[in-house]
Amino acid sequence: MEFKPDFELLKKALPDIKIIRFVAMGGYKAVYEAIINGSKEALKLAYIPREDDRSEEVPETLLRIKREIESLNRCKCPYLVKLGSLQPQKYTIGSRDYIVYSEEFLEGKSLSEFIKEGFKPTYDQCKRLLLCFLHVIKELKMNKLIHRDIKPANVLALDDPDRPYVVLDLGIAFKLDSTTITRNPDIRMGTLPYMPPEAFDVNFHQQIDFRSDLYSAALTTYEYASGINPFVQGSRNDPTTLPRITSIIPKPLITYRPDFPEAFCQIIDQLMKRIPALRPSNIEGLIKKMEAL
């Protein structure tokens, strides 16, 4: 990937941090396993493109990181990744500029890896996953935030009964009642196969709310449970994905998982409705209903 710095240069630029290995990369960020202030943390490097740097405006990347950090600071839900000890700082590594900060290091596999392996989760695992999502979305809603990028790759399954699943990456989170960070007002943020239908509406800014996260969370649970994303045929960037999102009704989850309780499958199906008003929006009520199942 173009923006990832040379490993040796990185180590040289951050002499107080013991960088163990490169972990993952996505969007404009790279993640490393590192020892920071004596404990293992996830070191995050966010690349700041130079053209942004020349502009008089504050670069979009910087604003996004600022928002992500503010958001993570505000949210106390255990199912959301926590910030680490390294405060954001600007570094020039090689010829490129980065913002460097840290988050807690979580030992676990992402749901996308499980899906790729053809893993078939139990009902209990899916139920716990949905409950984690509901708690996260409730917390985000209280803070007037929309995650906008809930997907299997952004969820880690941990070997910790208190935190069975943790949602990562608030990098493109949207703050309601706040100014927009995205410079191009027509850009729809998110990962296509997990974006809700309202994200493609002409007035999408007016349409998106916490129910968009509920949709993506349900879709992620659906895919985890069934191994199928109903909107993707072939590759994830297939041109038919978008029209499928806005037109098809996915097969009921019970079709793929007849071993699951019907009530659970119905909740997932209902949260994936195209019209936000058809998705149950009382999160507290949904949590109670799920716990009673």
Partner: protein
């Protein structure tokens, strides 16, 4: 699903008997026909008949648009303290005015002994993408908070009163529903009114403008979407559509004794041509999904006896003309019966039962036609087709 008596002119003992016989679960009173004192007296009487019944007063605030109009017929409405013409722009600009109207109306309802509150609202004319809709949302949004501030301690139903044309534009209507279902402090429920044009005042349900596949499907969608979000919907003037709205998730329906209590229309607040005959006594025939005049009932059932509902109130029609009260009781019993047997916990199953019901009605009309009763055959078949289409349109909208 509950059924309420939609009250209006000349109630006599209709509501009392309906409650006594358990045919209705309560009443929605009209301040247009009752002074505050009379309303209070009536509520006291009704509460004595049965404990725990639901008594509402529709504040009919939407009719304030006619205050001062030379041809307005508002009757006792202007005797109610909250019924004051408030300019639309003032409601839009001054949010405290909305609170004031809500407060005054809740106080009036509490004072007379209502068991639940209906929040006033304005009428949404042609579109949900309008100033009217913006003001309406403001009333709905504030209803629960204002009741709480007043320590009203009664369930609050916010009104949505809309003209049928507003509902048939799905994108605006759906966008309104999206806003409504994401309110931070939603009311306990919605009192929904879907209006036809002025001609519907005397048309009766079957020939009204509300009978359109898109309108019924939209009304069903409102019930479905709100029920999914834990908001109860009481459907005013829902009459024979009650089971359809209940299948979609509606909490209650309502119907009254005159045709203008079976279909909602703003036409009632404006003086019409007047005069005319007293309406024919009718029988709500469930097999035909229609009200038929007593004379026709006699003629039909002589050849097709199974057209009778086989319900206790059929006795009122046994060889005699029923009284107006008996006519109302028969109508309530029929609606309640059909609602009870068509609605299940499974929405797909309920829709299927309703569809089968309509198909049966078509075959009964076919038989009557073959027997020479061809009056209105085509329009009745069109009406039934429209009901069938509404089920399909609803299933499409609700992504079932």
């Amino acid at each position: 699903m509950k059924l309420y008596a939609q009250c209006g002119h000349a109630p006599a003992d209709k509501i009392n008997r309906g409650i006594e016989l358990g045919l209705v679960d309560g009443a929605i009173l009209s301040p247009r026909y009752l002074t505050p004192d009379k309303a209070s007296e009536l509520i006291g009487e009704l509460k004595q008949i049965k404990d725990g019944i639901d008594i509402f007063l529709d504040p009919e605030f939407y009719a304030t648009r006619y205050v001062g109009a030379p041809n307005a017929q508002l009757r006792y409405l202007e005797e109610w303290p909250y019924f004051i013409d408030t300019k639309r722009n003032s409601l839009l600009i001054n949010s405290h005015l909305v609170d004031q109207v809500l407060q005054n109306s809740f106080k009036a309802q509490k004072d007379i002994g209502c068991t639940q509150l209906i929040a006033p609202n304005i009428y949404i004319g042609n579109s949900f993408d309008s100033l009217d809709a913006a003001i309406a949302i403001s009333f709905i949004n504030r209803a629960k908070s204002v009741a709480k501030q007043m320590e009203a301690n009664l369930p609050v139903y916010a009104t949505i009163a809309a003209y049928r044309d507003a509902i048939i534009h799905p994108s605006n209507f759906i966008s309104f529903l999206s806003t409504l279902t994401a309110l931070e402090f939603p009311p306990d429920g919605i009192y929904s009114l879907v209006g036809g044009g002025p001609a519907d005042e005397r048309a009766g349900t079957v020939r009204s403008e509300v009978i359109s596949a898109d309108v019924i499907a939209g009304w069903m969608l409102l019930n479905h979407s709100l029920s999914l979000n834990g908001i109860r919907v009481i459907n005013g003037f829902s009459d024979i559509l009650t089971p359809f709205l209940g299948a979609a998730g509606g909490y209650a329906g309502a119907s009254g004794w005159w045709s203008n209590l079976q279909v909602f229309s703003m036409g009632r607040y404006i003086k019409g041509p007047g005069g005319g005959q007293s309406p024919l006594l009718k029988y709500l025939c469930l097999k035909l999904l229609n009200r038929i005049p007593v004379n026709s009932l006699r003629a039909y059932t002589e050849l097709v006896p199974e057209l009778m509902n086989n319900l206790p109130t059929d006795a009122y029609y046994d060889g005699k003309e029923p009284s107006r009260t008996e006519e109302a009781l028969q109508s309530w019993e029929a609606i309640k019966f059909m609602t009870d047997i068509t609605i299940s916990n499974n929405i797909g199953e309920s829709l299927e039962r309703l569809e089968n019901w309509i198909v049966n009605a078509e075959s009964y009309y076919g038989r009557l036609n073959e027997l020479g009763f061809s009056d209105d055959f085509e329009s009745n078949m069109e009406y039934l087709q429209c009901l069938k289409d509404s089920l399909m349109a609803f299933a499409r909208l609700a992504e079932l």
